[in-house]
């Protein structure tokens, strides 16, 4: 069951690519971390928010034919690990591109999309609580597309 607060809490990162940076070692994190795992206590109070560009490069990818629950209507979909220009890597889908257009090294940029919807009854694999909660977040398109 995914309640609204669980989705709402992560909105700054999922909607706007807000990360943070350890000012001790300069490592950039996405999603933001409470402490820097490298500097640990030395980083307390020294983690600064940083706005990431959402631009990056495909590290690796797959085409998913056996979907995660809630993603059935999109199947087959391209799932990729993207290295953002600021350093952190993320996992999400690449949309608006043909299955053969993606390569390791392709430049991509972020778009805001609907990720999932909690439907009722459980027949769609949703939580069955009928909450209708929609999760939005980042996906990617090939650079040069909108």
């Amino acid at each position: 069951m995914v309640g609204p607060s669980r989705i709402w809490r992560e909105a700054p990162s999922r909607y706007r690519f807000l990360g943070n940076r350890c000012t001790v070692c300069e490592e950039v994190y996405f999603p933001p971390r409470q402490i820097c795992p490298k500097c640990r206590r030395a980083s307390i109070g020294r983690m600064e928010p940083i706005q990431l560009s959402g631009n990056g490069e495909v590290v690796t990818y797959t085409v998913v034919y056996d979907p995660a629950v809630g993603h059935e209507l999109l199947t087959p979909y391209i799932l990729a690990i993207v290295k953002l220009d600021e350093g952190p890597r993320v996992t999400s889908q690449i949309v608006g591109a043909g299955l053969s257009e993606i390569m390791i090294g392709s430049r991509v940029k972020t778009v805001l999309r609907k990720l999932r919807e909690e439907k009722g009854g459980g027949e769609d694999g949703g939580s069955g609580d009928g909450s209708g909660v929609i999760t939005y977040g980042y996906k990617f398109v090939l650079d040069g597309q909108s």
Partner: protein
């Protein structure tokens, strides 16, 4: 530390066991292990049980006391252990510490999962709880999809081929065809792997482990036929994307380095190994990260037959997760049961001759945790 040995093992049939319940399976494996060790039930001083998610698979958390009650062991400690697909391997780690410390002399390690009481969709959701829920699952990742991304990168960086990965499944099914408890007893061909349905390109259905029911158990004592000379654990980032190198399981590198050091041996001393082939690429990556083969050469070695039953380093003689089956909590324990049978020379048609050292590698999820154990015949 005191010596820790295995003095008996027990395992149930693995597969889609519609008539068997969660509790029946682990009781059966435990009884067999005790018979094998020739010990009475009242001699057991502590029970470690691995189960990845009984609350989700059979709506039963608090499973420790249930198992203790079923076996008349309510007066001793019962500890449930979980680390995703590495749960069984981690239960061994905890029991090893227990006996090594001298706290208990006779300890049972059991592992169990009952995965076929839920529908396919629900099963997929449960498997997905081993991923990073907030930053992988929600975005459409599945465990096979993460392994597919490792496979794609390994092919890109090292020239590993689709056929080499298929050879892992072919080898493991061959081995499984000789294992009476295996989930799948049939041999398969490279062509069959390559024409099976795509799950996540480039991985296909016959690259991936099935959902199985089953249980395995071990009896650990301070003296026995097989000594556990090292049992080490390390973890890594939960999300695959946060790892420095997508094709390296840091936790396997880390736990195996510690294990070799403690055992006082090198990777080349290992004679036989059970690895975590949740997907075919997993066995290839682990065979490199354990130091058996140079990085990038794992696929080539499988295709050359080095890891086959008659090769110089047989891997997954049991059939591995792919063919023996993968009842998650039982898997790490079943790996040890196979190495035990091999080291004492009762692995039947799968028997490998002249063995000194065996190794087990259990991996959680996409490589968020790993336990590496090394065994020696006494």
């Amino acid at each position: 530390m005191r010596k820790v040995c295995i003095s008996g093992v027990g395992i149930t049939k693995f597969g889609e066991l519609w008539s068997r319940s969660y509790r029946e399976l682990i009781v059966e494996a435990g009884l067999r292990a005790l018979e094998d060790a020739e010990l009475p039930g009242e001699s057991i001083e502590c029970l470690y049980m691995a189960s990845m998610g009984p609350g989700m698979w059979v709506s039963q958390e608090h499973a420790g006391p249930m198992i203790a009650e079923q076996t008349g062991l309510t007066s001793i400690p019962v500890v449930r252990v979980e680390s995703g697909c590495a749960s069984g391997a981690l239960a061994l780690h905890q029991a090893f510490i227990d006996v090594a410390s001298g706290k208990h002399d006779i300890v049972v390690v059991g592992g169990v999962e009952k995965m076929t009481d839920v529908g396919a969709k629900e099963a997929g959701s449960i498997i997905n709880t081993m991923l990073d829920y907030e930053w992988e699952s929600i975005f459409g990742a599945t465990l096979p999809a993460l392994y597919a991304m490792m496979a794609r990168k390994h092919m890109h960086d090292y020239g590993t081929t689709r056929e080499q990965m298929a050879e892992v499944a072919v080898k493991n099914h061959y081995n499984g065809s000789l294992n009476p408890i295996a989930h799948f007893g049939r041999k398969i061909s490279v062509d069959q792997v390559l024409s099976s349905p795509l799950l996540a390109d480039p991985l296909r259905m016959l690259d991936c482990a099935p959902m199985s029911d089953g249980s395995a158990a071990l009896v650990l004592t301070s003296k026995g036929d097989v000594e556990i000379i090292a049992c080490e654990m390390a973890s890594s980032t939960l999300a695959l994307h946060s790892r420095e190198d997508i094709t390296t399981m840091d936790c396997v590198v880390g736990s195996s380095k510690k294990a070799y050091k403690r055992a006082g041996i090198n990777p080349s001393d290992v004679d036989i190994a059970e690895l975590h082939d949740y997907c075919t690429i997993g066995e290839i990556i682990e065979s490199e990260d354990l130091g058996f083969f140079e990085k990038g050469k794992g696929g080539k070695k499988v295709a050359e037959g080095v890891t086959s039953l008659n090769g110089s380093l047989p891997i997954n003689t049991s059939g591995g997760l792919k063919s023996r089956g993968h009842p998650i909590g039982a898997t790490g324990v079943a790996q040890v049961a196979e190495i035990y049978d091999q080291l004492i020379g009762r692995a039947g048609e799968r028997q490998i001759e002249l063995l000194d050292y065996g190794l087990c590698c259990g991996v959680g999820g996409s490589g968020g945790s790993a336990v590496v154990s090394i065994f020696r015949r006494r």
